[in-house]
Subunit: 354 residues, 2 copies
Amino acid sequence: MFKPLSERQEQILGLLVQTYVETGLPVGSKTLVERFVLDISPATVRHELAALDEAGYVTQIHTSGGRIPTEFGYRYFVQRLLRDFELPVTEQQMIRHQFHQARTEMEQWMRLAAAILARTSQGASLVTAPRPRQNRFKHLELISTQGRLVLLILVLFGGEVKQQMLTLAEPASQARLSQAAERLNALLEGLSLGDLQARLGQLSGLEEDIARLVLDVIQRADERGLNSFYHDGLLNLLNDESTRQAVRVLEERTLLSMVLAEMLETAGAGVQVVIGGEGRWAALKDCALILSRYGVNGELSGEVAVLGPTRMPYGRNISAVRYVADLMSGFVHEYYVNEPLLSLEDPRHSQAEL
Amino acid sequence: MFKPLSERQEQILGLLVQTYVETGLPVGSKTLVERFVLDISPATVRHELAALDEAGYVTQIHTSGGRIPTEFGYRYFVQRLLRDFELPVTEQQMIRHQFHQARTEMEQWMRLAAAILARTSQGASLVTAPRPRQNRFKHLELISTQGRLVLLILVLFGGEVKQQMLTLAEPASQARLSQAAERLNALLEGLSLGDLQARLGQLSGLEEDIARLVLDVIQRADERGLNSFYHDGLLNLLNDESTRQAVRVLEERTLLSMVLAEMLETAGAGVQVVIGGEGRWAALKDCALILSRYGVNGELSGEVAVLGPTRMPYGRNISAVRYVADLMSGFVHEYYVNEPLLSLEDPRHSQAEL
DNA sequence: TATTAGCACTCTCGATAGGAGAGTGCTAAT
DNA sequence: ATTAGCACTCTCCTATCGAGAGTGCTAATA
């Protein structure tokens, strides 16, 4: 896929990307030589830049003013040139500290994760709730409110709670509702969508109506599990114009869902980086998305992501995403799955996960 | 509070605000006369503008370039000069239509309300969940997950559902948990914070522990009911620089909570408009907030608001806020309160639903 | 007395021009 | 293969200048 580059070309590409990300200005041969005190002359660098330009890794906006990386160049940089670095220990401590302070509720964690990522990445962040690959019924409760209106509370495996208002065909007492709930709980525990459908025949009347609604809710939950997510750090995006695209992605939930779905399809463990452009990732034009799953692979997992301009400090952000994802995984294991991972304190446990 | 203005001065101030809101450019005497074909000469208008300037209603950014309204001028305009106008009927229909489409869940309504306001106001919108003045216990459920971990589901009057994970001192079977839930439900139904505390003495062991947690959750809910709200339309704000302030308000929830709390304290029914500035509303500098309560006054109420730059079409936005607030009130009455209001715009559903 | 016409002045905005700085490709020498 | 030198290009910044719009002030008018 990548045209092979000489070692020197790689070096130059790397330095160019690094410089451009920092300064935001097109980078020329002389600048590079001076900045990094290279042993070669600007003319040589010009040669190599011309080659990189030819191969599509860098480009010029204006005929005679420095080069900037192309998407392609960024990709190469990210996949081959980038050596990841750890978050500074002090920062790790700070983050852990914050998590330990608030460690009671999934919701708080998500909010916190979003806040932390936004702060450390200087981009916008995004966190979805952990959700199972396939939802399974755990428990339901029926609460009479007034007249024929009933509040259905549906608990799924994984701890997600859905609430839904429903109108009965005819009034029913709370006692009758409780009785129905009890029977349904006994009958449906642990079932997923398909099993539920199969067992529908055994029910009738009120119980059947409720079960159909449960089915409906679970189906919707299966289809788009992405209804609740938190984001933060829009402020960070508001400087330049490429901004708007990113904010649009955050604001339009359907768009976001589609992008995430497409990324997860390509799947793969660990951190993924998508650099926007034409075609498939047109929605992310001028943006880049760094994303990682967290939780129990295929069982109960959510995502953490950073979205920012194509020009972003990848190394730093990838580290941040991975680190937070690992922490979140730890919490999920601890609270929602039987066998906990190794110690939380040590962020290196991503190995253990596989 | 306001220095009295002559009728003509009021007219000129009104036209100036209107023009400035539309164009965004400082407005001068000649422009006004030409634009509105006034019977007076530019020189006369200049006289009046000088007077308005003197009195603090308008100001000049540059020594010799048109006037723009001050905050003070905007306030006067809003409070005294603005005659409200109805939303176009077609738009009303469209909005009603959308609400009817999605009418099942409070959550969906809030999302929808946010979306609609964002669209019609060309600003950012903001909707909080309806919440009772004082929360009261309705129902709880205890669900064993693993080991000593238990999921507490707490339903409050008004339909709000809280979930909280808790760790028991010692393991307990699901049967034991259900029994505890049943007893607590019988004992605590309808109680508010104070009553709950009083009744705590009648409990012991597992039941007492649970009740204490319930107390805690309700207390937190009473203190800051504003944890779940929806916003939309940030995109609309992203043009000029005064933007950032607005987005900051939306993003920093604590800031937002404070602002809302302060507004509600001043209280009063109907739509409120706050135009940001120094001192008390420093957080809203260069922004304006149009806000209305909805729901049942003092019993179960939320807010709808539009936040935008000081330079915004107030008349239109106030109409929109009021209209949406009225719709939402209708729904709250219909679904959560015993006695419905009089008919909404569309008499068909409020009647039929009961 | 209230209004208006006229006038000199101010200030912004846009277009134009020139120069500094940085970058480029090409060629010839090392 | 690398480098020095050179002519050239293009952006960005600054200065200048006129057009346009607005202002305050004064004197004339109804």
